[in-house]
Symmetry: C2
Subunit: 346 residues, 2 copies
DNA sequence: CTGAAAGCGCTAACAG
DNA sequence: CTGTTAGCGCTTTCAG
């Protein structure tokens, strides 16, 4: 049972097998299989012979070999922050759906918001060339991206306006204005004057831009950002929970709290409730981005809504425009729109 | 700006470039880069020259070319049901973490529990050979898998005991006993006698095995499964919500409801509450699998817990054992353990 | 209309 | 210890 070909891993027929069975050369087979190639005419008879042979053998072209020859991999790579964060699901969804339809495969990578992982991703796509990249980096510098772009001309589309490279398409730009609007609404419509902020750790994006929106709104209404008003945490449910612990122990805590994402906001609500407080009576809590958990939690979460599936479709559209060569030239910027979704947590 | 090499997509150096710069042949470069290859000794001096050249050029081997030659892709493919279902996150997590560590890339595919998608996945990995496959199929038949195994000798590890192929490693087997235990508990400890069941659509696994557990428990206590006790829905939150609608309109509905997964159970709770009912006072509702949402919802969900990260680690371990050739031969079966997690929804 | 031949970048015999 | 050579399976000139 052991003396097969040197590679017992597969008994897939090759294009040679098809050619042999059809009694033609393998290049003819290749031609009918990629009939697009500049309208070279092929006799209906050999064409049929080949198609029959393909059928009979169940031939499937080997993508690895094709990639080596064509220098196109029919793969795109996606780097997200955290597969557990529902924020990314509609985006990955859209990317996969469109890619499937176009017979592209999708490589997915989690960065966990860790710099080394983001760098590793870049190296991966250097070694394994893909036709396009979608990423939501939190730590990469423009310099890192530039290093990459120097060496690989693969088109990149990024989510998050912190990415700022002349060749990279970017979707984002909502953080500052949306946060500003949310804080303003808490002040004007809900009468809050002591508003806290749960930020990311180590000034990791998108914390800072959201923080600027908070600062601007507070400043505009001459409201102080007292020491203790700003807490930090991981970009997760648990991070929000822990940050909230730092609020509940304060003598005179804020009456409203903005969390830099909805997972943190939900963690904060859970922590408040665990400490015997009521939301929104004792604390109004708001998040950023409308994920399913926002309506599972009680009270349901007031948050900033973006059309996530649309953002996903935009990302993949921008990418395929470049992959297909319809677009070249400098990176484009798409500002997504957003709206305030008022629910029960305020 | 256009007259570069025919392939302007990359200016990555090749092994030839390294060889030229180091003044040696490309095979010598290959040798030092894969020093494992049967202890061929290499003079320290050329070795250093090569390493320097690699450094200077920032050479990275092209994985596509390497794959074509070695017939190994350093990729594994994962097919899950639905990226939005948190059930899969710890599993994908474990797979990615271990793969990263071993420099394997991970191709992820959503089947959406649709038969055509599952078949398409199989075809994808036929065209793009990967070194191993992890999948959680809901619709594939043994015959489909067998067809695949005939053609490709890539090792497969499956999640879910409905997969039954002599060559495939399987982790699963909890559905019937765990459901039985849960129903029994509802009867014995909670005094329910009218218990409903939210099943999957079209007898899609794992619905049927869970249903058998339900039947067995009900039968053992001589409790009737009245018409209307069994409702069906998509394997999602929305599916559970809609199924619950069919309970609340009944004249004499069940007092407890088991949903085939926790997403459905949460949908059911939400629907009950939306209709003005209280959980657990009016309906006790339980799910299957402990996902984060189970403790976000109020009342928190009584459910079957499995150690999902452990299952993920087991899946990828079984797979790598085969990829590494440590294990060959017939498919193994691993029964995962589970426990009943009692929370507030009962 | 079809075949022969080159070569994508790499590894692995096989000779020195 | 190192270089030469032969492909992996495919696409794409270039000749007929």
């Amino acid at each position: 049972m052991a003396n097969q070909k040197s590679r017992p891993n597969s008994n897939m027929p090759t294009i040679q097998d098809v050619a042999r069975l059809a009694g033609v050369s393998h290049s003819t087979v290749s031609r009918v299989l990629n009939q697009n190639s500049t309208t070279i005419p092929i006799s209906e008879i050999t064409r049929q012979k080949i198609l029959d042979a393909v059928q009979e053998l169940g031939y499937q072209p080997n993508m690895i070999a094709r990639s080596l020859r064509t220098q196109r991999s029919q793969m795109i790579a996606v780097m997200i922050g955290d597969i557990s964060n529902a924020f990314y699901h509609p985006i990955v969804r859209a990317v996969q759906d469109v890619s499937d339809k176009r017979n592209y495969d999708v490589l997915i990578s989690n960065s966990d918001h860790i710099y080394e992982h983001e760098l590793r991703f870049l190296n991966t796509v250097l070694r394994r060339p893909v036709d396009g990249i979608i990423m939501a980096p939190h730590c990469l510098t423009t310099h890192d991206i530039d290093q990459f772009v120097q060496r690989s001309h693969v088109p990149i589309v990024a989510l998050g306006a912190q990415v700022n490279h002349p060749d990279v398409d970017v979707i984002g730009g909502t953080s500052e204005p949306a946060t500003y609007q949310m804080i303003k609404w808490l002040i004007e419509e809900k009468g809050h004057r002591r508003i806290g902020f749960i930020n990311t750790l180590h000034d990791m994006p998108p914390g800072p831009s959201r923080f600027r929106g908070y600062q601007r709104a507070m400043g505009e209404f001459n409201l102080a950002i007292e020491p203790g008003f700003v807490q930090q945490g991981e970009f997760t449910l648990e991070g929000g929970r822990q940050a909230m612990q730092n609020f509940v122990v304060q003598e005179n805590p804020p009456t409203a709290i903005f969390a830099a994402n909805s997972l943190m906001a939900i963690g904060a609500i859970l922590a408040a409730q665990a400490n015997g407080y009521k939301v929104p009576e004792d604390f109004s809590i708001v998040g950023y981005d409308d994920i399913p958990e926002a309506t599972i939690i009680s009270p349901s979460l007031t948050t900033i809504g973006r059309d996530l599936p649309k953002i996903g479709r935009q990302l993949i559209s921008l990418l395929f425009e470049r992959i297909d060569g319809q677009v070249s030239g400098p990176g484009r910027f798409v500002a997504s729109d957003w709206n305030l979704i008022v629910r029960e947590s305020t």
